[in-house]
């Protein structure tokens, strides 16, 4: 009975332009948050070979920092300052994590299997730590902020009304994707990073400080996650569970899109975002299963993902 109703609802929505557009916009906006986290995860995995379980918590930190910042300093331009500054704060924390915890682990365990295992342990440790620290400092409530005034006016698009903010988020996502692609493929730093991935020893013997490179790349990944949190705050509110919730989905995105691929992360994020917003209509109870099933299918049939390559 529930399934029939769900499918009916889905059909109705698909045939009504305003509903269709509404779900698309929410889905795509969510997809950008996913993309920001997933691209950070993907880059960190691609370059450092670390699965950063704390990445969702970095996203969460971005949201909480932004919340505190906007409530402490209230001025017309507060949101924009937060938008530009907070991600760097999160990046700094990421650099701290990498330098004091992840780098010593890489140096201490020459065997790759052990290194991977203890990296997982350490990043998971940070997840637990950060989730509780957030509760201690800010309390366990939900915190929300209103949309920044410059971006709250509503536009009418295909019969539905949205605040400009949603489109702003999508624009940011696109800009970041292009910027990342450019950075990776056209700048010197990006070239060195790509070289370091395929052959660390040669790059090191050419005088590149590989450990410092790794710290910077990790910080970049953290920056992306933090930006996601700042962007998400006005729409989704901050709560101690937000990191864990979005982390699983980010894994799915990274796997589907391809570990190490930025456009793959974008495509994967869009797929999961849309799947989510339409799946909720069709079979509300099982939409999460679909995401995991998709992840399993990709891993079984094409573990490289849609666009993944070993760089």
């Amino acid at each position: 009975m529930e399934e029939e109703d769900g499918m009916n609802e889905l059909f109705n929505c698909l045939s009504s332009p305003s509903c269709l557009v509404g779900q698309l916009v929410t889905g795509l906006t969510y997809a950008i948050f996913l993309f920001l986290i997933a691209s950070g995860l993907s880059i960190i995995f691609g370059v450092l070979n670390i699965v950063n379980f704390a990445h969702g918590s970095l996203y969460m930190l971005g949201a909480y920092f932004a919340y505190s910042y906007t409530t402490l300093f209230t001025s017309k331009e507060t949101y924009w300052l937060a938008f530009f500054l907070i991600p760097f704060g999160v990046a700094g924390f990421g650099a701290f994590m990498e330098y004091f915890f992840l780098r010593p682990i890489s140096q201490r365990y020459p065997k790759m299997a052990e290194r991977e295992l203890f990296h997982i342990l350490a990043t998971y440790g940070f997840l637990l730590l950060l989730d509780d620290v957030v509760k201690i400092i800010w309390g366990a409530r939900f915190f929300s902020v209103s949309l920044p005034p410059s971006l709250s006016p509503k536009i009418s698009f295909m019969g539905k009304v949205f605040p400009v903010y949603y489109f702003f988020v999508m624009a940011v996502g696109l800009v970041i994707a292009i910027a990342l692609w450019f950075w990776l493929n056209r700048t010197n730093f990006g070239r060195v990073v790509r070289a370091a991935v395929s052959n660390t020893e040669i790059v090191a013997s050419l005088g590149v400080n590989v450990p410092a490179l790794y710290t910077r790349v990790f910080a970049l990944g953290a920056w992306l996650g933090g930006l996601g949190g700042v962007l998400a705050l006005p729409i989704r509110s901050a709560n101690p569970e937000m990191g864990g919730d979005i982390l699983f989905e980010s894994f799915i995105v990274v796997v589907v899109g391809g570990l190490g691929s930025i456009w793959g992360a974008l495509i994967g994020a869009i797929m999961i975002g849309i799947l989510r917003s339409f799946g909720i209509l069709a079979i509300p109870s099982l939409e999460l299963v679909f995401a995991f099933v998709l992840m399993a299918i990709v891993l079984i049939l094409r573990p490289r993902g849609i666009l993944g390559k070993i760089w």
């Binding site: 201490r108 350490a122 998971y124 440790g125 989730d131 509780d132």
Partner: protein, 319 residues
């Protein structure tokens, strides 16, 4: 000639057997039961991690499958408890056959992620299928087993039900690990590619190891349900797998009893600390960071190092 080590184990087992009769603290017996069950779960996890070199992030799925198979057979099919218990050991293994087959096709991180995907699928199905599994509410009022007309209601009674099952399982695991099969598993852990050139069909061994560990994980899940009297979806969630992972690493992943020692420490700490603070995850997180940086061999690893340095100091003293 009886080895001093074997004697030690006999004493430990004897101590476990007489424990509740000597120390009449129900709370401690309760704690010990939980340690035994979680220890078994951690041991099953370590068969894959420490001995075969695979990290099964979805391992809790089998713990949950064991728990829910038992619960559903009792509540929905009205089967006798003991029969349900036996079935709940083997039915999850059928799932493991399919899941394991797909997982072992992939290596390292991809194996871990695929295992995670399957585990979360199991969790989500249990969580959402309200009409069949009770959904996020879970299923309560699971009765204790009845042995020869005597319901094992008390903590002590259930302890004596759990103990033989866990000891027997541990004995089986010990034999497996010491057997020729175990030697091959460890070779596969070290270097799967090389093993292929020694006529070792690596995937076959990995699948067998997967099935065995799923069996013992399901057993732990079933014992746990009968222990707590309820079954909830989180039994199948990745956070449960992480519990096993932490216990294993804390105790020592390269030793046989490491996971049980880890289970004892984690369970004990959990119970003590949750009375003083609600921030148990924070403590756990700090422990994990400490382990990853300073104590990779876990408690047993530390103990081995201490033994070696005592020996060295001893031989220095004699000179």
């Amino acid at each position: 000639m009886v080895k001093p080590q074997s004697l030690l184990w006999v004493l430990v087992i004897l101590a476990l057997v007489v424990f509740p009769l000597i120390i009449k603290a129900e709370f401690l017996t309760f704690l010990l039961t939980e340690i035994l069950i979680m220890g078994l779960f951690a041991m099953s996890f370590n068969l894959l991690l420490g001995y075969t070199g695979l990290l099964p992030f979805g391992h809790a799925g089998f713990f949950g499958l064991g728990a829910y198979t038992l619960t559903l057979l009792i509540k929905k099919a009205s089967l006798p408890i003991l029969l349900s218990f036996i079935l709940s050991l083997f039915i999850p293994v059928l799932f493991a056959l399919v899941i394991g087959y797909f997982c072992i096709q992939r290596v390292k991180v991809y194996f871990a992620l695929l295992s995670l995907a399957f585990g979360q699928i199991i969790f989500t199905i249990i969580f959402k299928w309200y009409s069949f599994t009770g959904g996020d509410t879970g299923i309560y009022s699971v009765p204790r087993p009845v042995l020869f007309g005597w319901e094992l209601k008390s903590t002590v009674a259930y302890y004596y039900f759990t103990l033989p099952f866990v000891l027997l399982s541990l004995l089986l695991l010990l034999m497996i690990v010491r057997s020729p099969f175990g030697v091959i598993l460890r070779a596969i852990r070290e270097n799967p590619e090389r093993a292929e050139y020694l006529a070792i069909h690596v995937k076959k061994y990995q699948l067998l190891s997967f099935l065995i560990s799923a069996f013992f994980a399901a057993e732990a899940g079933s014992l746990f349900v009968l222990f707590q009297g309820y079954s909830v979806p989180i039994f199948a969630h990745a956070t449960k797998t992480v519990e096993a992972l932490v216990m294993t690493i804390l105790g020592g992943t390269y030793s046989f009893i490491g996971p049980i020692i880890g289970a004892a420490i984690v369970t004990g700490l959990d119970k003590i600390l949750t009375t003083y603070t609600e921030y148990w995850p924070l403590v756990l997180g700090i422990i994990l960071l400490f382990l990853a940086l300073y104590l990779p061999g876990g408690v047993i690893g530390l103990w081995e190092k201490i033994k070696v340095s005592i020996k060295l100091k001893g031989s220095e003293g004699r000179e």
